[in-house]
Assembly symmetry: C2
Homo-oligomer: 121 residues x 2
DNA sequence: GTCAAACTACGAGATACTTCGAACTACGAG
DNA sequence: CTCGTAGTTCGAAGTATCTCGTAGTTTGAC
């Protein structure tokens, strides 16, 4: 049940919010989950798009799917299918245009917090 | 059931997290609620401490109490009793020391978003 | 066509969040 | 002492969130 003339290389298409539909509250909420913050930090550290599975999170696959969907639906990441993999990328440009400096300050804050003593337990 | 020699001007004391106990995830979660974000923006705009009641939020008193407590318990605001009023202040210094630039970027982002077309409905 | 890999969809359980009203406490004014 | 103001506490209702396992789909490789 899909449009007959689908995309050439990629068939399944995923819905993303337009830049102007991204809400600050939703972004903050998305980043407030430890697992999702970890995902965002990993994507930022990688610099390029990453598949869902390379992150190796300590949660089940279905939970991983859930978190990536939350991140996509609130506008933090973009996702496209490449073959059997689903690649994820931070929407840096959109976030920077809407909320200048926000993502960087969150990433810096997360890094600093991770380096705080007793953070590894 | 309170220490006999209580504070002179203020009797009731409120628990606040120490600076090093403030967690990024908790702060982001606190700010992700529209009502609490509104409170934080008002406190930032005022610059000085404000009582709970001057904000005139479109919610009930008990809900207001709840939101202020969330903000205090996660380290975003400090609260002290002054007579019958409870004064609230942003913990700007603590937040800036832990998460440089974060609060300002959130406040700027919130202001910008509030000015976006069709934001008043 | 068959198979494995990667991801999704669905339902369910447990927990957490937001909101409220009603009854209560603390404080200052008179 | 009495009263009003400011805020709290205590359920409770409704909703949302996080997590999982199981079963399914899509894709590329053989």
């Amino acid at each position: 049940m899909q449009t007959p003339s689908a995309t050439a290389s990629t068939s399944r298409v995923l819905e993303h919010p337009a830049r102007e539909d991204i809400r600050l509250e939703s972004v903050l909420h998305a980043l407030s989950d430890p697992m999702r913050l970890l995902v965002v930090r990993s994507l930022a550290a990688a610099g390029t798009e990453q598949s869902c599975s390379v992150l190796d999170l300590p949660i089940s696959k279905s939970t991983t799917t859930h978190h990536f969907r939350v991140l996509r639906e609130c506008g933090v990441v973009s996702q496209i299918y490449r073959g059997t993999a689903k690649m994820n990328a931070l929407r840096r440009d959109d976030l920077e245009a809407l909320f200048p400096g926000l993502l960087d300050s969150v990433l810096t804050a997360a890094d600093r917090q991770a380096e705080r003593p007793g953070e590894d337990r």
